[in-house]
């Protein structure tokens, strides 16, 4: 469905569109785990990225560490601090994705981060490099559609989706405007708050999705506040996908010793991911 929006990029893989179409055919929503690149070090984070699809990730969000993540809660902020301490740069994150692509050419990868590292890298150069590395989409937290001109032409030229964020505070008229030219999928930030804090109720999610469906035919993923397999199952049933971030990072952080990865780090996160995936797949409530 998104390929029509990118006539200038015929060679584009369009992994995001294909993946959502396949899941729709299977009759289930996507599980979208998040990892912060280089958290707590490059090797661990790359190993985690490579292991995620087998553990049940349908799409993967890779966080680009930033020094001032003002829309994130303490969990992701600390993950970003660990990543930066481990030497994360935008270039380094792209190299990580490129290495992941050597073994997985199917799973969509979306980068999530803030404007400034991209602005500094150079938006055009960045979009070219990201596409070459195998990135499929970009979620830029502090880049509303009003400012998208900074990135959009370059993203379009390189076949990258800029994922549009919507929030409970977004009025219907604004939804219609900002989703008119949206591509990839729509990211619904389910709470007015930072990552890893409150959760929305099922009823709130249902009525939000009703509003969103009127404004777009794109798949919708719900993020912010999804922690348990039950919540992931519910969210992925109400919408087309569920993003789990802080809950996985909390697990990762709990295995660290003095900020360093331990033998428990990978198994702990992957076990949690499998439980979330089982919830999404069976649609059953697991505790």
């Amino acid at each position: 469905m998104t390929s029509l929006s990118h006539p200038s990029a015929p060679e584009r893989k369009n992994r995001i569109g294909k993946r959502f179409a396949r899941l729709a055919a299977e009759g289930r929503g996507a599980l979208i785990p998040y990892l912060e690149a280089f958290d707590p070090d490059r090797a661990t984070s790359l190993a985690l990225l490579k292991a995620m699809p087998e553990a049940g990730a349908d799409l993967i969000e890779v966080g680009v560490p930033f020094s001032d993540p003002s829309a994130d809660g303490p969990t992701i902020q600390q993950a970003a601090e660990r990543g930066l301490k481990a030497g994360a740069t935008l270039e380094g994150v792209l190299e990580m994705v490129a290495e992941f692509r050597q073994t997985d050419d199917e799973t969509p990868v979306v980068l999530m981060g803030y404007c400034n590292p991209i602005d500094r890298f150079g938006p055009e150069k960045f979009c070219r490099a990201a596409a070459r590395a195998g990135v499929d989409g970009l979620i830029v937290v502090d880049l509303p559609p009003e400012e998208a001109a900074l990135l959009a032409p370059h993203a379009r030229a390189n076949g990258l989706d800029i994922i549009t964020l919507t929030a409970p505070t977004t009025p219907q008229a604004r939804l219609n405007t900002i989703l008119k030219n949206a591509t990839g999928f729509v990211y619904y930030v389910s709470i007015a708050g930072v990552t890893g804090t409150a959760s929305a109720t099922t009823a709130q999610l249902r009525s939000a999705l009703e509003r969103l469906r009127q404004a777009t035919s794109l798949p919708v993923a719900i993020g912010f506040g999804i922690r348990t397999p039950q919540q992931a199952a519910e969210a992925s049933r109400i919408a087309d996908g569920a993003v789990v971030a802080s809950a996985l990072i909390k697990t990762l952080a709990s295995t660290l010793n003095d900020g360093q990865a331990t033998p428990q780090t990978l198994p702990a996160v992957l076990t949690q991911l499998r439980q979330l995936a089982a919830g999404v797949r069976k649609g059953t409530f697991l505790e």
């Binding site: 020094s67 001032d68 502090d142 509303p144 009003e146 964020l165 505070t169 977004t170 007015a192």
Partner: protein, 422 residues
């Protein structure tokens, strides 16, 4: 003296910015999370309505006069001028020493220019029906001003302040407590102003329905840079009229310190279209522009996006924000207002700097010669003004914005002078 006709409406006016999207050239804008976008639009709409309502300006003027204590005096600093002339002569400089005038924002209630803006925004927040106010503060002047108006109007007030600044600005923290505000020390990052700003934004995202974010400087997402500038422009409007009344003409130069840049923008703005008036924004060089310990965002920064706007930022090659440094907590910010970034690029304002040491010297000089203890922020502006005045002919007039009083900085200055206060 010819009076420019309604400068805001002249087609080539430098006062007409920002554009409809909040941009000053390539700077400014609204770089915030989607959760906040509708709120930014509401705020802009509320501000436009207030601007169109003569009752709003009338109400604000009444508070400025009867509560803030405006107009603030413009003081001809004869003893300081005499010192400048003696030095100009002794050093055989090109000039013979200009006359210095001081715009006394330190005489406002709560001791700084901050109250001008805070008074404007609190009246707006009340019109918007907000019940709770959050704000960030560095040196504490903006926090104290915000806590003050919240006390005046009976609003709930929460102030975010870097843990480092809480430690070095203890008297201001206590003042905020006395005024009934809750002060949240922020330990994330370096525990300074930029981290306090992140934390205030997080709080705001979580409480968008009832909370007003009272921004203290001419930075942040549109319409804050424009709004804060407008509320602070009272400084320049007064200074313009006062100079004409006292000297019969416009000043030759205006000098003001720059952190985020609100006192500077406030005094510069009414003069932007008077091209013969030279404007100087003085950044904090810290230990020196090339020491790696500086807060000079224009001199040592590059354009980027932080805290809702595109502007000059102190950052590394990878776009990570670096920790600024200045002896003055109020200048210790890695960015600058977007309108300043633009005025720098088009060359209308000269952005220069003063070091910690130069500011300390100017601080003592003003105290000894005029009996005015300035804020360390203002001392940076004064330090450059003293240098500038020495190079100018004696018939020139230079206005320095004394943005705040220095009571809060007395412990910092004492420590640097090796004096132990009990």
């Amino acid at each position: 003296m010819q009076k420019p006709s309604s400068p805001e409406h002249a087609p080539d006016s430098l006062r007409s910015g920002p554009d409809a999207n909040g941009h000053f050239g390539p700077y400014g804008g609204v770089f915030v999370a989607e959760t906040l976008m509708p709120l930014m639009q509401q705020l802009k709409q509320a501000y436009r309505q207030a601007q169109a309502d003569p009752g709003f300006q009338e109400e604000l003027n009444a508070y400025l006069q009867h509560y803030v204590g405006r107009p603030s005096p413009l003081w001809k600093a004869d003893r300081l001028t005499e010192r400048v002339r003696t030095e100009a002569e002794r050093n055989d400089q090109s000039g013979s020493g200009a006359t210095l005038y001081l715009k006394r924002e330190d005489l406002n209630h709560t001791g700084s220019h901050k109250l001008n803006n805070v008074m404007g925004q609190i009246l707006l927040a009340r019109r918007m029906g907000k019940k709770r106010i959050v704000a960030e503060t560095g040196a504490g002047q903006h926090g104290v001003a915000t806590a003050t108006v919240c006390a005046l109007f009976g609003l709930e007030c929460e102030i975010f302040m870097g843990a480092t600044d809480v430690a070095r600005q203890a008297p201001n923290v206590f003042r905020m407590h006395l005024l009934g505000a809750k002060v949240n020390p922020v330990t994330a990052g370096g525990g300074t102003l930029k981290d306090a700003l992140n934390e205030a934004m997080r709080d705001w995202v979580a409480h968008v329905d009832d909370t007003y974010f009272l921004v203290g400087t001419v930075a942040g997402p549109h319409p804050y840079p424009e709004m804060v500038r407008d509320f602070q422009s009272v400084i320049g409007t007064e200074a313009r009229a006062q100079m004409i009344a006292q000297t019969g003409r416009l000043p030759d130069a205006i000098v003001a310190a720059i952190g985020g840049g609100s006192n500077a923008m406030g005094i510069f703005h009414p003069f932007l279209d008077d091209r013969d008036v030279r404007l100087y924004g003085v950044e904090a060089a810290g230990l020196g522009l090339d020491s790696g310990r500086t807060a000079a965002s224009i001199a040592r920064g590059t354009p980027g996006v932080l805290h809702g706007n595109r502007t000059y930022l102190m950052q590394d090659a990878h776009g990570q924000i670096t920790e600024p440094y200045s002896i003055s907590a109020g200048l210790d910010y890695p960015g600058i207002g977007p309108e300043h970034a633009w005025l720098n690029d088009i060359g209308r304002v000269d952005y220069v700097s003063a070091t910690d040491a130069e500011a300390l010297e100017a601080f003592q000089l003003l105290t000894r010669l005029e009996g005015i203890i300035p804020a360390l922020e203002s001392a940076h502006g004064l330090a450059y003004a003293l240098k500038l005045a020495r190079t100018l002919p004696a018939d020139r007039n230079v206005v320095v914005n004394i943005s705040g009083r220095g009571d809060k900085d007395v412990p910092t200055v004492a420590a640097h002078l090796g004096v132990k206060l009990s």
